[in-house]
Amino acid sequence: MMAIFIHKFTDYVDWSINSDFYNSKQFTITFFGKTSLENKLKIYLKSEKIQNKTIKINQVFEIDNIQNPEILFISNIPQEQLIKVLEYTKNKPILTISESEGFGKKGVLINFFTFQNTLRFEINKNGVEKANIKTNSYLYRVAKIIE
C-alpha cells in the first residue's frame, strides 16, 4: 500500500521548478536505511515510468551517498541521524518520506501513519513550502497537516 502511495505522490508533486529535473532522464527514489519497502516498490514500479522518466530505485546507508534523488524514503533511523539527513535535504528539491511516528514533526515532508487500520499520511506544510518543490494543494485535503 505504501508503495502505491509513493507512486501516487509523484502525480501530486512537481519537481520541474528545478532545472536539473529537466536534464535528468531518470527519476530516482532512494531509500535511506534498512527497509523492506525498496523491494516491494521495485516490484510495483517494474517497467513503469514517472513523468516520462525511467525509475531508478536505490538504497543508501550513508548521508554522503544520498546525492540528489527526487524522493528520499527515510527508514526508522535514530533521531540524531534523521536531523543530519534533513539538514542534507534542506532547500533541495527532494521529497522526503518516512513511516515513523514523530518524523513529520521533525521535518520529514510526508510521514505515513496508521489510523483505524488504514494507512494515512501527514504532511509537514512548512517543510513543503520551504522545499524547492511544488505540491498539489489537493493532497492536503486527505492528509493530516503538520504546521
Partner: protein, 325 residues
C-alpha cells in the same frame, strides 16, 4: 351557425378582438413558457454541472488514494444541498467506490449504471462528471439532482404569466368594449336611422354626415339613396294621383258606357222582337216578297208565298233582273 346572425355587431367586434387577443396571448404564453423552461433547464444544468465539478475535484485525491472516509465526509456535506438526491463515485474500473442518498428521499437508491451523459429525467437531473488526475481518468462522479425546486419555480412562473395574461385579457375586454364604439356607433346610428326610415317612410330626412372615412361615404351614399327614393316616391305619388284621376275619369266613362250599353241592349232587344215580328209577318204574308240588296240586287230573302207562287227556290234566282227576264 344561425346564432352568429343574432349577435350584435358590438358583441361580434368585442368577441373578435377578445378572440385574437386570446390566441396572441396564448401563443406568447406557450412560447414564453417553453423558452423559460429551456433557459432555466440550461441554467440549472450549468449550475449543477459546476457544483458537480467542484465536488468531483474534492473527490479526486481521496478516490486516487482510496480514502472512503474522506469521500463519506464530502458526501456528508451534500446534506446541505437539498436538491441533491443521490451521488455515486465510480473508480476507473467502473465499480462503485462510495454512494450517498438524501435521508428524506423516499426512493430507494438504485445504483445507476455508469453513463457518459448529462440528461434530464421526469423528476431529476442526472450528471456524470469524470475525475481526471494527470490527464488520466481515475473515476466518475454520478449526481442525481431533484427538479422539485426547479418545477416549483416554473409552476410559479406559469401562474404569474397566466395571471398577467388574464389581467391583460380583462383589460383588452374593457378596451374593446369602449373602443368598439368608434366603429359601431356610426354603424348603429345608420342602422337606427334606416330602421326609422323603414318604419315611418319619411324619406325627407337625412343622416348627418361624419368625417370622410368609409362610414362617411356610406352615410353620403345612404343619403343619396334615400334622396333618390324620395324623388321616386314623389314621382310615384304624382303618378298615383294622375292615375287616380284617370281612373276616376275612366270610371265615369265606364259608367256612361254601361248606361249606353244598357240602352243599346234594350234597343237591340226591341229590334230583335221587331225583326221576329216582321219575319213572322212576311213569312205568313199572302204576297210574294223578294228581298234583295246592293247594285246586283242579289236575293237575300224570298218568302214562302213567293216560292209557292213562282216555284223558284232562292238558289235558283241569282238576281231580280235574271228572274224578270
Amino acid at each position: 351557425m344561425s346564432y352568429k346572425r343574432t349577435i350584435s355587431i358590438k358583441n361580434k367586434l368585442i368577441g373578435i378582438i377578445f378572440f385574437i387577443s386570446l390566441i396572441s396571448f396564448g401563443v406568447i404564453y406557450i412560447t414564453t413558457i417553453i423558452r423559460k423552461i429551456n433557459l432555466e433547464k440550461e441554467e440549472f444544468a450549468k449550475d449543477y454541472a459546476i457544483t458537480t465539478k467542484l465536488i468531483a475535484s474534492y473527490c479526486i485525491v481521496p478516490l486516487d488514494f482510496g480514502f472512503n472516509e474522506e469521500i463519506d465526509k464530502i458526501f456528508e456535506n451534500l446534506k446541505t444541498q437539498p436538491n441533491i438526491l443521490s451521488a455515486c463515485l465510480y473508480n476507473s474500473e467502473g465499480k462503485i467506490f462510495s454512494c450517498y442518498q438524501k435521508e428524506s428521499s423516499a426512493q430507494k437508491l438504485e445504483i445507476p449504471k455508469r453513463n457518459e451523459n448529462t440528461y434530464f429525467t421526469a423528476n431529476s437531473l442526472i450528471i456524470y462528471e469524470p475525475l481526471f488526475q494527470n490527464n488520466k481518468e481515475i473515476g466518475k462522479l454520478y449526481m442525481q439532482i431533484s427538479l422539485d425546486s426547479f418545477n416549483s419555480e416554473i409552476s410559479l412562473f406559469k401562474r404569474e404569466i397566466l395571471l398577467t395574461i388574464s389581467l391583460q385579457l380583462i383589460l383588452v375586454y374593457f378596451l374593446a368594449y369602449f373602443l368598439q364604439r368608434i366603429i359601431t356607433n356610426p354603424i348603429l346610428k345608420l342602422h337606427n336611422f334606416a330602421l326609422e326610415i323603414g318604419k315611418n317612410h319619411d324619406y325627407s330626412k337625412r343622416i348627418a354626415t361624419i368625417p370622410f372615412d368609409e362610414i362617411g361615404i356610406l352615410y353620403s351614399s345612404f343619403n343619396s339613396m334615400i334622396e333618390t327614393v324620395e324623388m321616386r316616391e314623389q314621382q310615384i305619388n304624382k303618378d298615383k294621383l294622375a292615375l287616380k284621376e284617370k281612373n276616376e275619369e275612366y270610371l265615369a266613362i265606364n259608367e256612361e258606357l254601361q248606361e249606353k250599353n244598357a240602352e243599346l241592349l234594350q234597343a237591340k232587344k226591341v229590334a230583335t222582337e221587331n225583326e221576329k215580328k216582321f219575319k213572322s209577318m212576311i213569312d205568313t204574308s199572302p204576297l210574294a216578297i223578294y228581298m234583295s240588296n246592293g247594285i246586283e240586287q242579289k236575293a237575300e230573302y224570298i218568302n214562302p208565298t213567293f216560292i209557292k207562287l213562282f216555284g223558284y227556290e232562292p238558289e235558283e234566282i241569282s238576281d231580280i233582273f235574271e228572274w224578270f227576264n
